[in-house]
Each structure stands twice: as structure tokens, then as C-alpha cells.
């Protein structure tokens, strides 16, 4: 009988379970198997949990994580069993022009993890995907482990919003969305030197983290009222950079209304809107960039891993609830009900 492992199962919208399933194993010589140390629930998982986006029923789920390499295929050269690693939510070949340009998350040979809320995970294309962490999990305290976990997705995604929006020193940046990605967007805008950071938030716990991460102003208004407020704060010109970390039509429309002419909207929320106005963006020279975050690129080449290891940033603060895998239903429910900002799963 083959080995088994515990895994979270998406049963149907609103209902998670934990089951014994076949243990993740090597399928190709470029694969690795990683024993998970921490995983978490993503805002995008909630779209499925809420029934707003389709997801296969009675199937594994999850795409974030850090862990320890258990086993590697014969072609893997970058890591060995026992190594402590980050699993970026996209997997990628690491060598094609798209990866070399720093867009591993859109690698045409890659894809996305989808079964990381489990004890073990199979990593495809290991050498092009994985990011090694110095030492062992035992070398780090819980807060640092939480921050390392964020650079498998949420912090890297916030950083992608800031980089896509071309935030530069001295900028005024607006961050749409006070979920974990938006909060990490605030931290990223700060890292890139924005001096005025306006966080859109109407939840006190989130606004508090936003302030801790560098937000200079909190705007609780929405739609036209939010636009009016930001325009009033920027002498009527709008913000140099907008980090769109929601993905709704409402949020994108608001972003369009408060961005300065010549500014860029960096968007990282999977778009739940069909179109961007070709004319509305043209006359005002509004740029639109973004997509799934190239996690590995930012971890290694924008200094996110070093910044976490040196305690310059503490993005793990977005985890305000901790659960074991057996309490996965509660982890989803609490995040769905906004009782917690983001749910961490310990093994």
C-alpha cells in the first residue's frame, strides 16, 4: 500500500475537509518533494470558498508555502534533501526568455501550484522554481518563519503591485485593498521609497498594520468619495502610482479616477472585470501593468529574501490567525469573516 499524507480538501464552496491522500512523490527527474513547514490561505482561495470562482470539487488546494526538501529527482542540482526552501506559487523553467526577463510567473513552460495545503508537495521544475533559505527551520523564530512564508506569494505579490506601478523615491502611492496583499503593497511602496502612502481601508485591524508598514494616510471612503479625497490630498492631480490589489471592477474604476496623468496602475488582483478602457487610459497617458507575481525574481533579485532575513521588513505581521491543518475549515471561515487578516497553517 502506498504511503499517505494529510491534505486539505476543497469539498464545495463553504466546506473544507482534511483527508488522507496518496503522499506527494517524484514524477519527473526535475521534481522535488518538500515536507511543508508552513502554508496559508490566500485571498484567491476565498474566491473559491465563497463560490465566486469555479474550483474542482473534492480536490486539493493551496499554493503558498515553505518547507524542507525531502527528496529530489536525479536532474535536480540546486537543492538537496534537508534544504530549507520557499515554494513560489508559480513554477517555472527558469531559463527561457520570459524567466530571464524576470517574469517566471508567466513562463510558458510553467504553471501554478495547487495542492500546497498538505503535508507534502511535489515541486515541478525544481531548479527553475525553488528559492533556498539558509539554515534550517529550527534556526528561525515564528515571526521570521511567517515572514519567509509571505515571500512565497503575498509579499511578493504586493511587491509586484508596487514594481508594476513603478513606485519610485518621493512618490505618492495609493494602495487599493487592505487584504494581506494590499498591506504588503504598502510595505513594498515604502521599500521603494514612496513618501506618501495612502492605504484604502475601512477595518481598524488592517489600518493598524498598514500604518505599521508605512502608510501615511488611511482613506475609508469608496468610489467617487475615495477619488475626491485622494485628489484633495494631491492638489487635484492624483497619485503617482496606484497599487490595485483587489481585482474588482469597482476597485479598478476607482484606481483610474485617482491616478495622476502619466501614472501607472500596478494590478495584481485577478481581474473580475472584462476590459480596460482604451481611450480612458490614452489621453491621460495612464499605464496599466501587472499580473501574477514573479515571486522568485523578487525574492532573489529585488532583495525580499535578504530583507526578511535581515529583519528589515516583517511582512509576516499579516498573519493574525494560526491553525493546524486539522482546523482548515476554521482557517478559511475566520479569514472569510474578516476575523483574521490572513490564516497561517502550521505543521
Amino acid at each position: 500500500m502506498s504511503e499517505t499524507m494529510k491534505a486539505a480538501i476543497f469539498v464545495e464552496p463553504g466546506r473544507m475537509a482534511v483527508e488522507e491522500v496518496p503522499k506527494a512523490r517524484l514524477e519527473a527527474d526535475t521534481d522535488a518533494v518538500v515536507r511543508m513547514v508552513r502554508t496559508c490561505v490566500c485571498g484567491s482561495d476565498l474566491w473559491y470558498f465563497r463560490g465566486l470562482s469555479p474550483h474542482e470539487r473534492h480536490a486539493q488546494i493551496g499554493h503558498e508555502g515553505i518547507g524542507v526538501v525531502e527528496e529530489v529527482g536525479s536532474a535536480v542540482t540546486s537543492v538537496k534533501p534537508g534544504d530549507f526552501v520557499i515554494l513560489p506559487f508559480p513554477y517555472s523553467c527558469g531559463v527561457c526568455p520570459v524567466c530571464k526577463a524576470g517574469f517566471e510567473s508567466s513562463c510558458p513552460h510553467g504553471g501554478y501550484f495547487g495542492s500546497n495545503q498538505a503535508e507534502y508537495v511535489r515541486v515541478p521544475q525544481t531548479d527553475g522554481t525553488i528559492v533556498k533559505i539558509p539554515g534550517k527551520p529550527e534556526d528561525y523564530d515564528d515571526a521570521t518563519l511567517a515572514s519567509l512564508l509571505t515571500i512565497s506569494d503575498v509579499m511578493s505579490t504586493g511587491y509586484h503591485a508596487a514594481a508594476s506601478a513603478e513606485v519610485k523615491p518621493g512618490d505618492t502611492a495609493v494602495v487599493m485593498g487592505d487584504g494581506a496583499v494590499g498591506l504588503c503593497g504598502v510595505l513594498s511602496a515604502k521599500m521603494r521609497g514612496a513618501t506618501q502612502i495612502i492605504a484604502m481601508s475601512r477595518h481598524e485591524d488592517r489600518a493598524a498594520v498598514a500604518r505599521e508598514f508605512g502608510a501615511t494616510d488611511i482613506v475609508a471612503e469608496r468610489d467617487q468619495a475615495a477619488i475626491d479625497k485622494v485628489l484633495a490630498m494631491t492638489d487635484g492631480y492624483g497619485a503617482d502610482a496606484v497599487l490595485e490589489c483587489v481585482g474588482s471592477k469597482q476597485s479598478f474604476d476607482t484606481a483610474m479616477g485617482l491616478v495622476r496623468a502619466g501614472g501607472v496602475i500596478g494590478r495584481v488582483g485577478l481581474p473580475h472585470y472584462a476590459e480596460i478602457s482604451a481611450e480612458g487610459t490614452f489621453g491621460r497617458n495612464i499605464g496599466v501593468k501587472g499580473g501574477p507575481a514573479p515571486v522568485r525574481h523578487y525574492d532573489l533579485h529585488a532583495g525580499l529574501l535578504d530583507a526578511v532575513l535581515n529583519h528589515e521588513i516583517n511582512p509576516g505581521r499579516v498573519f493574525t490567525g494560526e491553525y493546524d491543518l486539522d482546523h482548515i475549515q476554521e482557517a478559511y471561515e475566520d479569514m472569510d469573516a474578516r476575523k483574521v487578516i490572513k490564516s497561517l497553517i502550521r505543521f
Copy 2:
């Protein structure tokens, strides 16, 4: 009786005239009046001439030009009568955050010239708009005057396509459109260090200028055939940067098909399409930037004026027909019929 001047008049689609109209004069203390030395016909003027875009009938037209300052308002400090100048097609305050960010063409206090095909032109907001050229028109030969004329619009617009597409050294760039802007886009991609420059052209005279400007490859195909050809030339990955210098839906769709994941489409053709797919651009991390070109910014801060004065670039090569103002109908007709690439008007 007030003084008069000769001016081109847009009578109706397909029909231009030359008439005596009241001479341009100062209306505000920040105005200047410029005696035109060269102007020209823009691809966007042809949209009106062809009846594809609305334009007031029996009205002045034109937005490009170089000339000599005739008179200045009392608040003007940057130029004096006798100075030789470029008139960027947008006018702008020059001091607001939008202008300071390098987007004078979207200055909320500015606008666009619209009566430059005339002997004299009124310049609003002179100090924030005008670009001074050293010396006098007599100091320059015809070829240099033609090149100086291009940096009032068409060369700066081509440069905006390249800058918006983020062309950088070593890139493969595709230029959509073989009109004067597209050809200047080729030259701009070359200036920014692209090593493979694929020009889309099916007209031998234009392809010849494209090659002279730095195009390494010419693609005559359109639509899916063009996409297939560019993909074949880039190992299936697509181009790092696409300069969309047409503005049609067909052209933008083709641009989307041949841009590399993570690449940027720089667009400068006034969009004759309604929307950009929010999802189609997201998964592949396709950026879309561009709009009306900040001419003054590129002339002064991207080195276009110096490059022309030092004869490093000769964008004036796009003028393959020369006319006097009395032959304005012919200047439009020849360009409309593609007998010439772009029509220059001498005074």
C-alpha cells in the same frame, strides 16, 4: 483693419483650402506669436481628411512646426523675438506635477495646437511649452530643418512609443505601422539600444527608410500571419517590446499576439478601438502604456534635440514630399494616397 495671414483651412473631408484669416496675435501675457518656418501634415490630420474622425468644418488645422518668435507677452521669460523654436504639438504649463513627471502632453492646464498650418501661430503658456533651438533658421540646411520639425511631433511620438514600450539595450522590438511615426519608432528603438528591430511594412519606400533607421527585419504579413512570423523569429516567445503606432483594433490585436509574456505594448496611435482585455493582459503580465507624446520632455530630457543638432539621427528623412502652403490640398492628397510618406510645408 486688422492684419491677416495665409492659413490652411479644413473645408470638409477630402477638401482643403488656403484663405486669408486674421493674423495670430497675443491674447494673454504668457502667449507668444511665432512666424512659421516649417509645418507639415500629420497622420492624424488624415483621419479628418478621410472623414474617419470628426473635425470642425471650415476651420484651421495643423499642430506641428518650427518657427521664429515674432512677439511675446509681458510674462514670457524663456524666449524673445527672433529666437528660433520648436512648437511641441501639446502646450503645457510646465510646472505642475504632471509636467514635472515628464508628461506635458497630459498637463491638465494644457491642450493641443490646432492651427499650425498657417503663417503665424499663437503659442499659449509659452514658458511651459516652447523649446528653443540655438541660432537662426538660416544656420541650418534643409535636412536639419526637416529633422528639427520632426521633434515637434512625429519623432517625439515615435520615441514615446519606444519609451512606453520600455525598449532597453539588447531587446527585440517590433514596430507596428510604417507611417512616419512608426519609422521614427524604429529610429527610437535603435537609439534605446534594441538589437533586433522588426518593422511591419508592406511598402518598399517605407521599408527602405525603416532599414536606414535601424530595422533588422521587415515583416509584410498582417494579423495571424504576422504573429506567426514574429513568433518564429523569436523562438516562439514573442518580442520584448511592441511599438503600436497605428491605433486600429487590428493593429492592437496583433500587438497582443506577438508581445512576449512580461513585455510592454507602447501605444501612440489614437485608439480607434474601445477596450483592452483585462484578462488577456493579466496572465501574461502584458503592460500597456502610452498616449500623446510629451514632446518637450523628450526633446530636452531624452536628448532628441541634441541628437538632431549633432546629426546623430536624421528623422527628417520621413518627409518625402515638400509643398508650399498654397499646395496644401496636394500635400494632403499625396500623403493620403501614400505617394509620399509625410508632407512638409515650407514658408
